[in-house]
């Protein structure tokens, strides 16, 4: 009844129970914080070029490079349980052969970014100088909502997009969409909402105007459009 083992077991059991209850309480406080994200995205310059998926490939595909401007305010998404938010801009388009052009069945990310909370800055995979600067930018702050404000002018995309068919030129009904994913310290992950949920509002804006990709850029042998071959595995 009062052996050392039972005592140790009781302490451990109590400890884990407290830990999980505390975790659950922290996770549930997410629902109390209102979320009012907003974003405006505009297409700037688009180029479609032919290239190869990697250096040794003989397959030629069309790659679209979409420059865009983004003005977003995700500051309300940060609270004490926010570890990071992942923001991305994706291009969506319907299947060219489809009769209903409003159903966008294809989607590809063209740009993304990780915005950490000051509490998780040390986990970022960045150089020592950038790290020092990042940590200094939020000195003394445990939450820094100002990081949720994004202003990009004529931003070059991080990823050039392609389609399995290899054809993208003169593609019509393309849209840019802004999305986010909130990563908590503990609890449930949440994404861009489709419907309003109590305190959490649907993103304001976040969709560009419909646009059309231009015709293939004619130029004698473009060498610089090759996709990077250096790949890093998990």
């Amino acid at each position: 009844m009062h052996s050392t083992i039972t005592r140790a077991q009781n302490i451990f059991g109590f400890f884990t129970t407290v830990l999980f209850v505390l975790g659950a309480i922290i996770a549930s406080t997410d629902f109390l914080a209102p979320r009012t994200p907003s974003a405006d995205v505009f297409v700037k310059d688009i180029q479609v070029v032919r290239g190869r998926p990697h250096y040794y490939s003989t397959k030629k595909e069309e790659y679209a490079s979409i420059r865009f401007s983004l003005s977003a305010d995700f500051s309300s998404l940060f609270n004490w349980n926010t570890k990071q938010i992942f923001v991305w801009v994706s291009a969506t388009w319907p299947e060219p052969s489809a009769s209903n052009k409003s159903i966008h069945t294809n989607e590809a990310v063209i740009w993304d970014t990780i915005i950490t909370s000051p509490s998780s800055d040390h986990l970022q995979n960045i150089g020592p100088v950038a790290m020092k600067k990042l940590i200094k930018s939020a000195k003394g702050k445990s939450i820094d909502p100002s990081r949720g404000k994004i202003e990009l002018r004529n931003q070059k995309p991080k990823y050039q997009i392609t389609a399995p068919s290899g054809k993208l030129a003169e593609l019509d009904d393309v849209l840019l969409k802004v999305h986010y994913n909130i990563q908590p310290w503990v609890g449930i992950l949440t994404w861009t909402q489709q419907v309003e949920f109590w305190n959490w509002k649907v993103i304001e804006g976040g969709v560009s105007k419909i646009f059309k990709l231009p015709a293939l850029k004619k130029k004698d042998e473009k060498k610089d459009e090759k996709k990077k071959t250096t790949k890093k595995a998990t």
Binding site: M1, S3, I5, T6, Q9, G23, P53, K83, Q84, F86, W88, S90, E95, T105, N106, E107, A108, V109, D112, I114, T116, S120, L123, Q124, N125, Y159, I161, A163, P164, H179, N181, Q183, P184, W185, V186, G187, I188, L189, W191, T192, Q194, K228, T230, K231, K232, A233, T234
Partner: protein, 172 residues
């Protein structure tokens, strides 16, 4: 301490209790598996390719049903590559088409390049059936125990031994 060994009836009941604990845990795991429709509803992060979101040892809860919508771009999915046994946790960055034949491309947030290199030879995209679940919930660090256990296998024997001994030697 050793009185339990002298009393076979009590020893038997201790063994049953021990078995009951094990089978309860197993049933809870399988029950969760049925609810989430995933062969492995809880996974432990093994690599740093999704940092800073997930570190090694973090616990992820998966959901593998598409009640309202299909698995889409931006979701963090766990998938198995054909012929490889290690599940990989990465984000979907491209999706072409719909339904079970949709072509999905994944990438780790912390990786420079997408996962084409990780897939099986000749495989350029994942299909829905390769995915064993999308991440919906997160608990940090708790799963580190399993990493310890798989990296130091003797710990398993020790842990099982201690559990067995305490269950048998304990009075009441």
């Amino acid at each position: 301490m050793l009185s339990a060994l002298r009393n076979p009836r009590q020893a038997a009941s201790q063994i049953i209790t021990f078995g009951l604990i094990l089978s309860t845990a197993f049933m809870m795991w399988k029950g969760l598996s049925v609810i989430a429709d995933s062969p492995s509803p809880i996974v432990v992060v093994l690599s740093g390719s999704m940092e800073p979101a997930f570190q090694r040892g973090d616990l992820l809860f998966l959901w593998n049903r598409n009640f309202f919508e299909e698995t889409k771009v931006g979701e963090i999915v766990v998938y198995n590559v054909k012929g490889k046994d290690i599940p990989i946790v990465h984000r979907v960055v491209r999706k072409f088409g719909t339904g079970s034949e949709a072509q999905l491309l994944t990438k780790g947030d912390n990786n420079v390049a997408d996962d084409t290199e990780l897939y099986a030879r000749g495989q350029d995209y994942l299909e829905r059936q390769d995915i064993i679940g999308s991440v919906v919930g997160y608990i940090p660090f708790v799963g580190y125990v399993t990493i310890m256990l798989s990296e130091h296998p003797w710990l398993k024997t020790v842990a099982l031994g201690i559990m067995g001994l305490t269950a048998i030697l304990q009075r009441e």
